[in-house]
Symmetry: D3
Subunit: 242 residues, 6 copies
């Protein structure tokens, strides 16, 4: 059993499924703990089909929560909800304190979150900023919150829907071929968005092809690979260039 913990912070419940469930399933497959923090239920911005069916606000939230819990279970991850509202998602002192406490409780080894900009969905940029600030605050002995201060876990941004328009420059391609079936199963739970399953399957295939083209001679990726793209925020610290 690993003592490593992966923390995933997202604006809306769908994000962890479409954008980084491969990374989640890989971590789980290595025996790591994975905790997903959903800052909102995506109740206003990403639930159009439910509103069109006549759901009210509580029903929308309940439905989005149920789906997200099911997807997290498929992946083997824990999930927590912060119900901070979307469109706009906003940083309140309460939310900030909750996230500082979360960082200190989990002592994550790695953090995943949104990219810094998204002109199609400002909540994503806000979630990025909240996630980074809370990480820095959790490092400070002078910030009052339960638990011990944390180190400096690396942060990776997962891929937005239209990467070039978001200034997203992928500098890590994660080979998720061994857990592709897990990702596919998790995506299928979000049934109201069936066309997105195709979209993200094609994207996974595309990033996999790129991973193969960028591989060193010794990695030996199989022909049919799937990958997820990430942008590392802080410099990688390492003892070997590979």
């Amino acid at each position: 059993m690993s003592d490593r913990t992966l923390l995933v912070l997202t604006a809306h419940p769908g994000d962890f499924v479409w954008r980084c469930s491969g990374a989640i399933a890989l971590a789980v497959s290595r025996g790591e703990r994975v905790v997903i923090g959903c800052l909102s239920y995506g109740e206003r911005g990403e639930s159009a089909s439910l509103w069109r069916k006549g759901f009210d606000l509580d029903q929308v939230k309940a439905q989005r929560r149920a789906e997200a819990e099911q997807a997290a279970a498929v992946l083997g991850a824990e999930i927590r909800f912060y119900d901070a509202g979307d469109y706009p998602l906003q940083e309140t002192p309460e939310l900030r304190q909750q996230l500082i406490a979360l960082y200190r409780e989990l002592q994550p080894s790695v953090v995943l979150t949104h990219a810094a900009q998204d002109p199609y969905n400002d909540d994503h940029a806000v979630a990025h900023a909240i996630a980074l600030r809370a990480r820095v605050f959790a490092q400070a002995a002078g910030v009052q919150a339960p638990g011990e201060v944390i180190g400096a876990p690396p942060v990776f941004c997962f891929e937005p829907h239209q990467p070039e328009q978001c200034g997203f420059l992928p500098n890590v391609l994660l080979d998720i071929t061994p857990v592709w079936d897990r990702k596919l199963e998790a995506m299928r739970i979000l049934a109201a968005q069936a066309h997105l399953v195709t979209y993200y399957t094609e994207l996974g295939h595309r990033r996999g092809t790129q991973a193969a083209r960028n591989s060193g001679p010794n990695l030996g990726l199989p022909t049919e690979v799937f990958a997820e793209a990430y942008q590392r925020i802080y410099p990688q610290v390492t003892q070997e260039l590979t």
Copy 2:
């Protein structure tokens, strides 16, 4: 004994000492083969003190070569010279063919070279372009040269003298603390530039301090660390985010 090979391509002989001898010594310490390709002797652009002593061109080259061989020996690396001229360094068809052959002979697992721009020394930018082009050509079955085509080894740019002016964005910090004494010994061989030993010792210390601040909670860097900064060119392909 590792079957990995590190290839270092530089414009001038001093570059591998000041900029990446930590990476070289680390690779050697893991049992890897390291081959340094010096495209020129730096005879015009980086040998002012020898010219001022009255050396002629052949003497300058011989002196630069001798120092470089000595430094490579201290590091445990092989070194080859291409004598392609400096100020300006230029890509000739002959040099291109020699480098394609070198890539195919060595089948390098990792490549180190200069950053893409340097307004203080255009030879550095030229060497970067030559190194990348030769790598791509060596991948192509249709390019006639001895040996088998190569895979896609990752390329890392080492740090230029004035990084911000060269658009150098370090995204990898390599902890070279275990081999710092090797780097120091290699630097001291380049005796005519004693003030640079201080300069690069301070830089190593600075990058080490930054490495410590960017480390995840589990790396456990010691207090007194030395590091070298690199910029990875192509996306990292990996099976684990760390």
Copy 3:
């Protein structure tokens, strides 16, 4: 009569005159509806001459409003005022709801607003952010507001006073030669800033000269052209490359 609607969202009343009254007059000349939303009266930041005359706050606002209404009338556009304050302009929940309702009421085919940055006037950057966020929120079925959700109208940023310092990269040059007299008349209404009439006449001429140099062989711009520069935010979707 066109069924197209142009929506212009600005921080202060002068902005639509100096920066995009050519686009407004062109749209009106094609029979389109144009609605200008002024988020503030520019009462503190852009009314120095009125304060120096001894006007109080209400008088300043009334004067700026009167001028803006007159300029809009000259151009043939409707204008609405939101009186949200300037220096600083701030996004309140009320303003956000008003703008979402505005988008849904108008169902604009095109949106004009400020560029994303302006180190000389932060209100401009704030207005940009407000305009983009309200557009995205107005697209979402889950956001409660009167009217139907909107599509994805293209957004164009008009030119700031010092474009290079604002990161403004003009990628559209709009030929406003046929309506230049309208723009000139509108500019002259803002009498307190007579030197700006010269400044923006010269700018219109400059952008016109550049338009001529960038034109394909079939556009046939006349020798004396005036143009306005814009930066398109989202990719152009088209069925023909021209």
Copy 4:
């Protein structure tokens, strides 16, 4: 019959099929003339499977030429070959003069070529530079070459294989749904690269989905759309913002 001419300048024969055959087929469907200029046969860099079959240089060129002619015919375009060599493609005075003459002969209304950078294939960057320089030289009355000087046709870069790594920022999405079957047929001619048909079908679908998300309310894209992405080099000159 249109009097417009589309000029496509590529480094290798496959490029016009994978990257812009939708734009070619659309232009043909509007009655425009389309001329493709292939600067090389891609004989060394992009013909690995032929070399592995034991073809010699002339055989490789002949095979690439035959395929390209067949694909051009399917699309309804003319094609010319310049046989300037690849890996590396280089600008010679002869090639420059030929291209200046081509520009003057065709008087193109639009030009398509590669993006400015490609760290995976330097020939692409070289072709971009050659295409732009020849266009500027063809505008100058003082440059001796047959034909009349040209105007300033807009230039669009088509999408490279790994767009983010090439600094490619798509600012035009071209809806190619009506001619998708043409593109598919052209791609299938390049039989040795069957996996690329899937790759570029998925890419067409991906860019189509993004086109739908970026469309104004009046474009009415169908649900199943295909698109190609382009980056416009020079500012668009227009009389209407759309």
Copy 5:
């Protein structure tokens, strides 16, 4: 006695010592007035060692204040504290009004503050934004505050801890060799952070070496130079290129 005034606005008390005390000491040595405005005491984010000793909030603030006053005294500068809180530092209407009044009172000839971004400490970015906004507001006759409106003093950002990660591009190197002993003495007052004295001494030396390499032939920098790096925000207005 000069009639020039240097205004330094920082997020935390240590910043003016590490990052720009050379500029402060130089200005004082020319007879200029220097006023430092500390927006917070850095009580939570930059006082870990005091919290670990068991200090309470008031004690931490008092200690940080005392040290800062002592360092300012060594440098010959005035210092004012705004106690606006850190981690996060936030812009309140009260703080904004205080800073507008400060600008009008001092009529600064030059302003120093943080760089626009810092992913390691968001307070730095906030302080930058506050400082720039207050400067612009202080220029406006319509903004109510004591004193006369100000002109347009140039703004220089001092160097962050990890410049490349903050997008910091040094375009001014200030030779602080004549006052290096002052900077060293001021740094030594911040005793709890002794390792930083080494870090910033090495940085001063590094920037000094770069200053020497960038100097025109007539400046005649001594061999052993110290410098501080700055990034100028607005264009330099001058009557001579030097």
Copy 6:
């Protein structure tokens, strides 16, 4: 009499008049020596009106030379011609040696040249690269050429015709009001391009207005100012922030 020398290196004869004759006249007015090096006569790319009159190549060159000599005389500057050809301008070993010798002969205190990119005229980018490389080579004791090695004179790029499209970011605004009449007289000599006199007069006025808005409180620019914009390449080294 000053001992300072300003060196101006341009691709074509018109460039020094339109883009930096203000800087030249200012330097002359301070008693400095100014030497202009024209790398070509702009005989092909910038002499359309002469070709249309039926001039042959020698006549075109003679005419451009005569005009340039006359303009230089008006400004009080020396001028030298290198006749290296335009469209394309190319760096030959001979040209390089001539320029190294020029640098060493003049020992310039400041260098002016083109910006690094110009998609409208590649000769400008080539001239920039040549000028920078020759400067670096002239610094090296090992490069054989007459004269003593030079220091590190600052380099300023003057403004291209379409600055935003060239990535030109003005960071210096030079107040040329005192010598505006000199610039106007020099421009009028280039009679074949009368419309450019208007264009550059408007530009001078525009940059002057911006200079006024960016001025510190003590500069006291007059209301009617003219300025030229420059981009400094290397960091400014200074002993005072102003």
